[in-house]
Subunit: 659 residues, 2 copies
Amino acid sequence: MPLPVPTVPEGVDPAWLPDEAFRPLGTRRVLVRGSGPLVETVHGEVAAACARFGGRVERDASPEPYDLLLELTGDDGGEAFTCERRAGLTTVTATGAPGLLYGLFHVVRRGPAAFAEDHGLQCHRPGLALRMLDHWDNVAVHPVMGQVERGYAGGSLFWDDGRARGDLARIRAYARLLAACGINAVSVNNVNVHAVEARLLTDRIDEVAALADAFRPYGVRTHLSVTFAAPMVLGGLPTADPLDASVRAWWAAAAERVYAAVPDFGGFVVKADSEGQPGPFGYGRSHADGANALAAALAPHGGTVCWRAFVYDHRQDWRDRTTDRARAAHDQFAPLDGEFADNVLLQVKHGPMDFQVREPVSPVLGALPRTRLAVEVQATQEYTGQQRHVCWLGPMWSEALRFGHEGPAGPVVGQRASALVAVANTGDDPFWTGHPLAQANLYTVGRLGWQPDAEPAELLDEWLALTFPAAPRRLADGLRAVLSGSWRTYEKYTAPLGVGFMVQPGHHYGPNVDGYEYSPWGTYHFADRDGVGVDRSAATGTGYAAQYPEPWARVYESLDTCPDELLLFFHHVPYGHVLRDGRTVIQHLYDTRFEGVAEAAEAAEVWASLAPLVDGARHRRVAERYEEQLRGAREWCDQVNSYFLRKSGVPDERGRRIY
Amino acid sequence: MPLPVPTVPEGVDPAWLPDEAFRPLGTRRVLVRGSGPLVETVHGEVAAACARFGGRVERDASPEPYDLLLELTGDDGGEAFTCERRAGLTTVTATGAPGLLYGLFHVVRRGPAAFAEDHGLQCHRPGLALRMLDHWDNVAVHPVMGQVERGYAGGSLFWDDGRARGDLARIRAYARLLAACGINAVSVNNVNVHAVEARLLTDRIDEVAALADAFRPYGVRTHLSVTFAAPMVLGGLPTADPLDASVRAWWAAAAERVYAAVPDFGGFVVKADSEGQPGPFGYGRSHADGANALAAALAPHGGTVCWRAFVYDHRQDWRDRTTDRARAAHDQFAPLDGEFADNVLLQVKHGPMDFQVREPVSPVLGALPRTRLAVEVQATQEYTGQQRHVCWLGPMWSEALRFGHEGPAGPVVGQRASALVAVANTGDDPFWTGHPLAQANLYTVGRLGWQPDAEPAELLDEWLALTFPAAPRRLADGLRAVLSGSWRTYEKYTAPLGVGFMVQPGHHYGPNVDGYEYSPWGTYHFADRDGVGVDRSAATGTGYAAQYPEPWARVYESLDTCPDELLLFFHHVPYGHVLRDGRTVIQHLYDTRFEGVAEAAEAAEVWASLAPLVDGARHRRVAERYEEQLRGAREWCDQVNSYFLRKSGVPDERGRRIY
């Protein structure tokens, strides 16, 4: 029986799956072959599209000619599929049911082109096997962080004030959106696991199972964040020592119970010894010991441990310039290469700090050749405008994922990683992501997981074509203009030249140049009256640059070769230091602040001009957010400029107003 | 019937009323003459002391000679009393019952001296008629501010998570403590009146009445903070316009009901048009219109409106250097002189900003000769160490209250004001004030209200003698050493030369030099690479200095005459500006930071040396807080020094470590 297609609840935006996107498919004659639950999902999709647009679907055999064959030819569970078009017939085949589902969405994405010119056999397989969204959702409202930690899209899709929301219709629609962009896993609670959330692992596992049931028809596996202290907190044991037999037995039994409730459970996400969370250090054990203990419990069931490498000293003394937070993950984890179990993924943030608008790629990603890695990015815009500013992060993520692509060592991520994990930017907001245009980030992150070397501009075009299937040229051009450069615009009006932070502490929205300068968080810029930046060279600084393999260590080490956009991340330079374009650092700083504001204003005008072409609710929402973005951009510009004018005493060459 | 003396509950500190303080009285033969409830309170006090220490008390007539006569000779309700000692008989007389109560505590305070040498008739009368504590206590826990806004002494004495605590035994003991230091009024809820708190005025008035019953036997009248929007919020009216007849009728009826429940109700405290609270501006009315509307409702019952002058633009643009928060209260209120009803007290903070460790005296205090004024000080140490740092504020308050004492105009406050209002520093902490030594602030503020020109050192000695009645010389000397200079020590390691703020935004604890520099709150220091400070002169600055009468306007206007400790409040000067002691501003800044830390460390050592002389719990509590004070003092020192070294580039002459 074909599975009925989940529809978004009344008032909720269909995002990149509006009915209209299915017109090319829905007007065709389609044959679906194969069996199993996911084939029913595919069948349901095709049937719904054909019912709407006048096409026809047959199952397993067709009395008449057809335009599209969707065929499952095996049961290997794989995600790959092939596609060819010959003599007017488009054929998608897969040897695993998830592959057929992804093949279907491939056809939808291609639109009319899927039924146009013939082409030979193309093989599609995911670049990264695990493509996961980590929801930092709290079950109970956290007194500081609220229902969703770093959430900017309303409440949680899963939880509401201590209880499961029970709105499975919306979860099913969500699963479908995720599958259509390539996501195949979600973690349904915050990596900071508080008391209530801990119990999802045990007596509240039924609530997780209900979510898993809703995600399963679209090939999305459910994961849980767990606390390393679970054996004590939940099990009443006197220790959580990962080498203790009773602890290991507790985890094994806990996993057993989880799989009884959720047979395809994905595994655990763990933030250990990080920002106050418990971990193996408390027992004199290594992170490999810790991760492996949990991995052993999951292994019999096919589960994975995503073990975060976000371990650093968050009680650093700002007076101590020898400690460097950027070094921490490499210092901690590189020596452990080869010690992790096969079903452990070491989950590494793409940069060494914390999702700043510009960071170098983390050297950890190249440092553990015998360890499976997950690259963690942040779809939720904690430091990039909190979904009040347009900031399409596709180009930034792409740079990280393709880092080294043209170098001798090949792409760092492409060679080493087997997973892309994104912190989710979704919530119960009618537009899913608060800012309607932030949907593009979610779409892009999924597609980059499938194809890490994709051109981000092409993914943006895909998203545009799906989301606005009937868009006239002017709308598509306008949306492209508004989104494609938005990351660099955001970078221009916020912290300059890779130095990062300069945000309001705590909530991280808006500027505060010295906000973290004398804090224990290890995020400093060291601006004084003469210059600014962090010396991370090996020769005179913290030595962070030497954590990279060549040629990168050499490139970053030297002022002559370090890319300008990362200059202040790696070097402390005088304000008069001359950049490659001939401008001084201070003049560049002034210029780019003003440019960023001008670009944001220009984008807002483009958006305003699109009003007749976009539905009212969406246009208003975006227009409101542009107002705030412009206010915020000016605030960033003025504060950063004033701060550096006051400190450097160097006037703007062009005499613009600095307060 | 003598009223039984309320005793502090088990485990709660007796503060400045330990039993032992009553020994000199309790060993005497005492005659109490007069009638009325407060005479019963006096009788109860004497009876309890005599029962404990072997003395004797008679009522109205005595068959035998006696040592002390406490006599009420009238019923004018006054607080004055006379005292004389002649031929071995000490006589206290009063024409109002409150006077007799204050006379009794005068005798207790004098200790053995009250029964030593003869002296002629002394008249004691309060310098300020109203001596009130404003409790910023919330009934319901506020999501940001908690149970007590700016509270550092545990929970509220009155409220607990939405309900009245009902612990009237402790309130009775508290009333006794207050009476013994001269306080005669309390306001029992926060000036920021939220939804739950608003209802104290109407359907929850019985809870206020229960508190008033507990305060009354010690001559303390109960007041309420009310919201200006009450006619709308509680009365359902469409407006709160103070000139609207239905609004005025609503207030009159509300007051009627309040006095039915609390016949000696003191009146209302109002924060209007301030930091988001509603007020008369919303209706195009003046603050006099607003205050007078409420005053008219209270007048028939003898109640007072305390109308706060803390009105300023808290959404200021930091780019705008012409707006000056310091000017705001004078700008707003000086033109209204003569327009306020007789039963309005304009409640004015002692400085123009917000309870910083050093501010000039508010010019508002000299600007409304035809208006009754209340001077507001802050016993709760919001900006002065939050009861984790020792900071005895007696000398600061005394400076404000005696300001102009030796000048041609006479003391500003002494001539103009009729009330001293202190934001309370008390809570349900066993020591009442969190830091046991912060009790001295509460005691001092009460006594200064009674005698604004008292020598603060003498009040400190009073507090020491009462609180530690059996203290050996070494303990008294040690306590004096630890407390007497603590305000100047705190000033030394925090923000320099009157510039203020430089605190962490929000909670206001600990340093953050630029914390409020680019904020909307109007609190800036304008430090750049060349200099620091706010130009408030009339010639080149905001003109604030001209709000003072002569000679002060002239004194503050000129760099040559402006007192150094207020230099940066009134002037922006280069770091090389030379102070009266020959040091430059920057060197003074470095020196005083280091001195402040050294003085705090020295005080901690003195306290440590007192361990054998102080009870264990009290010594431990203070010692723990000294640890935090030292850490905090070093943090202040290092952050402020680093900030200014980075900005000025001027090294410390003495080569000390600046990070």
